[in-house]
Amino acid sequence: MAADSAATISAVTSRDKAHALLDHLPEERVDAALAALEAVEGRDTSVEAILARHGEQRLDPKEFERQFGSLPTDDEG
């Protein structure tokens, strides 16, 4: 338990430190550093993460059916 907490605090601190360091970099190195940071942190583009970022939930299936159930379909996707 104590080890878990220490690991969490350490990870948060490192991440905060990385962001704080960006403020002290010369302008010409900021883009490269940001790209590296993004590559390491990764951006979650799953639907779950997208909705979480916007504080949204998927529409209830019954309501979805009521609103969109009669839409036409095509032969793709």
């Binding site: 979650d44 909705l51 949204e56 998927r58 979805f64 839409l71 996707g77």
Partner: protein, 134 residues
């Protein structure tokens, strides 16, 4: 005389991270198309129902997009498409969130993902082989 009923218009939202990821794999014409689509959305206050189609729960292309809707960009037969999920928010009316933007069909032999394959991947409904019921 009966007044013609105006059709529903659904507010649409993009996700910056997802859109950025999508545009990074697309030609410059995609950005032009999505900008023009956004402008149209702003002008109309969203997307009219007549410009939406239902995605297939099990498509012939192998994608699974249950309870998703889509549109062609530009309408009515554009090369690009967007896949949406319908969403609710505690303080906003029901809306459509774009979960993938991309090319509808790639040339035969291309390994690039279609907009439907991107949406399918992001939905994460595919079960790992080990998780499938016997």
């Amino acid at each position: 005389m009966v007044e013609p009923q105006s059709e529903p218009v659904f507010p649409v939202g993009f996700d910056d991270d997802a859109l950025e990821e999508d545009l990074a794999h697309l030609p410059a014409s995609a950005e032009v198309a999505v900008r023009s689509f956004s402008k149209e959305l702003r002008r109309q206050g969203g997307i009219p129902r007549s410009r939406l189609m239902a995605c297939q729960a099990e498509g012939r292309d192998g994608t699974r997009l249950p309870s998703c809707v889509k549109t062609y960009i530009p309408w009515p037969d554009g090369r690009f498409g967007a896949v949406f999920v319908a969403v609710t928010h505690p303080n906003r009316p029901m809306a459509l969130r774009v979960v993938a933007f991309g090319i509808r069909h790639h040339p035969r032999g291309s390994t690039a993902q279609t907009v439907y394959e991107i949406a399918d991947r992001r939905l994460g409904l595919r079960m790992a082989r080990s998780e499938r019921p016997e």
